[in-house]
């Protein structure tokens, strides 16, 4: 059981982490990064699975089923799209120069 203050600390630290990671990103990666973070909140799938797994009534099951469907779409779609975008980032001098543009 996570109590209120522990959760607040997690919120705070995770928020700083997210902020710091993005802070020095070149513009060329904005779109892939947005897509990548879109994939990462696909973790909602796990929550939807738990919700459906604990559903008591048919009504809850229907909502839970839709939730899992949507969550799975978020995760899978986010991954495919991000992967396709990033696949294309190549340098003209492969593996020679060590610096990232």
């Amino acid at each position: 059981m996570i109590d209120g203050f522990l959760a607040l600390y997690i919120f705070m630290l995770a928020a700083f982490t997210g902020y710091e990671i993005i802070a020095r990103v070149p513009v060329i990666l904005h779109t892939p990064l947005m897509s990548g973070s879109n994939f990462i909140h696909g973790i909602v799938l796990v929550g939807a699975m738990i919700a459906l797994g604990h559903a008591q009534t048919t009504f809850e099951m229907v909502i839970g089923f839709i939730g899992v469907l949507l969550g799975a779409g978020n995760a899978a779609g986010g991954y495919v799209v991000t992967e396709r975008m990033l696949e294309m980032f190549k340098s003209s001098k492969p593996a020679v120069s060590k610096e990232a543009k």
Partner: protein, 477 residues
């Protein structure tokens, strides 16, 4: 805690770690490829661990839903064209928001079935087994509200970028109506938190939240959509974090919060690159307020033939190519890169200059050029390339308009005044490939086209680039 639970918790920890490391790797072009794979492994680990949770029912149904959702999204994500990426991100993001809202809904409805009442110690008592705390109900409601807004809003954004919804829906008093709907949802949410967990109340709460997402997004124009999508992306992250707290799932809390914070910053960066504030995007309407008289533009547009343009660039020393969304729509990036390679073979120094908002989203144009095979070290950002334009012999503008418009610097009455632009006009010669004489996305005249050193090469981007390639090849023989 049994050993199984320890293993599952460890899996969630690993997933959270992989998400953060993956995102970190994604923030540099060299390691970005690996980053998404790391995050993907994290997701796989988390999902498998969830199947193993001991008190789960309906595992078959869950598996079916996961498989259907994954298959549909995988299939659509594979076959969509690169130009359509922004709306796909919007669509998948909306799905995430919807899933978060669905989690909130199942939680709230399950509380509602149990005649929950609020006791003194901030603790609900229920006839059933679960006794939600005040903070849990509050966060379930907040997550449901934000998730619903993100869901319906993202779907509208998707429809708009897909071209299914061309019109902007604007009516007088719209802002007031929107605010009333939001206030209604907030009041109902507060009542739910206050202990009135009745089914009709919850249903109306969701209806209002979904309606607000719709109404908030409908009046926003296409040019501002990327900022809005990014904002909804951050929203979904927050909603996921809140619902993660309700479900006591650490991986969701951490991943959701990281995305919430990263998404908020990304939204600000994008808005800044477009010279718009977030408030302006959400509540102002682009081009709606026709302010002072626009500056009159003197001179005329001077056409040029493809053969002359090809010769001009073939014997130049430095050429900078400025691609815009028009090039992407015409699917001309492959031809353009073919042309650029021919120039490079002749010893011409070629660079691609990309404005932060070229394309439909910051960085979108880089993706499109990368698709055509342009190596990223030939692609220059605005800040790097602008000082080089005075030494550039020919600047070739293909399908870009507003981002090279000098009026952004000279005309305070222009709606794009103050937006940083690519200083193309400073080059010795400018060739503009353009379909016709019309105005750009923002509907503003472009003074560049009338400049003395500018020549217009009329035609579809694909056809024009093809002509340039042919002409250049004929020079070789």
């Amino acid at each position: 805690m049994g050993w199984l639970l320890v293993v599952i918790k460890a899996c969630y920890f690993l997933a959270a770690l992989l998400f953060i490391l993956g995102l970190k790797r994604m923030s540099s072009p060299r390691t970005a490829r690996g980053g998404i794979v790391w995050a993907g492994v994290g997701m796989l680990v988390a999902v498998l661990a969830t199947f193993a949770l001991p008190d789960m029912q309906h595992r078959g149904v869950i598996l079916a839903a996961v498989l259907i959702g994954v298959a549909a999204a995988w299939w659509s994500g594979r076959r969509v064209a690169m130009t359509a990426m922004p709306q796909m991100v919007a669509l998948y993001n909306g799905m995430g928001g919807g899933a978060a809202a669905a989690i909130g809904a199942t939680e709230l409805f399950s509380y509602a079935g149990k005649a929950v009442t609020l006791l003194d110690g901030d603790q609900f008592t229920a006839s059933g087994a679960s006794t939600p705390g005040l903070s849990q109900v509050t966060l379930a409601v907040l997550g449901a509200l934000i998730g619903s807004i993100s869901f319906s809003g993202s779907l509208i954004a998707f429809a708009k970028l897909q071209g299914w919804l061309d019109k902007r829906f604007v009516f007088p008093g719209q802002r007031v109506v929107n605010m009333l709907v939001l206030a209604g949802a907030a009041v109902l949410g507060a009542m739910i938190v206050g202990g009135q967990l009745s089914v009709p109340l919850i249903v109306v709460f969701f209806a209002l939240a979904l309606a607000f997402g719709l109404m908030m997004t409908l009046p926003i124009g296409g040019a501002d959509m990327p900022v809005v999508i990014s904002l909804y992306n951050a929203f979904t992250g927050l909603a996921v974090a809140f619902e993660g707290f309700v479900l006591q799932n650490e991986a969701m809390i951490i991943a959701g919060t990281v995305v919430g914070a990263a998404g908020t910053l990304l939204t600000q960066l994008m808005a800044k690159a477009m010279n718009r504030s977030i408030g302006n995007v959400l509540f102002g309407s682009f081009g709606a307020a026709a302010g002072a008289e626009a500056q009159a533009i003197g001179g005329s547009q001077k056409p040029i033939e493809a053969s002359d343009a090809a010769v001009m660039m073939a014997y130049a020393e430095r050429v900078v190519i400025v691609p815009g969304y028009g090039m992407a729509v015409a699917q001309a990036q492959h031809k353009v890169w073919e042309f650029a390679k021919l120039l490079i073979d002749r010893g011409v120094k070629v660079k691609f200059a990309i404005h932060p908002v070229a394309g439909r989203m910051p960085g979108h144009m880089n993706v499109l050029l990368a698709e055509a095979g342009v190596p990223y070290d030939l692609i220059a950002d605005m800040d790097d390339i602008n000082p080089e334009f005075p030494n550039t012999d020919v600047a070739l503008v293909i399908g870009a308009n507003d981002v090279v418009n000098p009026l952004a610097k000279t005309d305070p009455a222009s709606p794009i005044y103050g937006m940083p632009i690519l200083d193309v006009a400073a080059a010795k010669q400018v060739i503009v490939v353009k379909r016709g004489k019309g105005t750009g996305f923002a509907g503003i005249e472009n003074a560049l086209f009338y400049a003395d050193n500018a020549r217009m090469l009329y035609g579809d981007g694909q056809a024009a680039a093809g002509q340039l390639v042919t002409e250049l090849k004929s020079l070789e023989t």
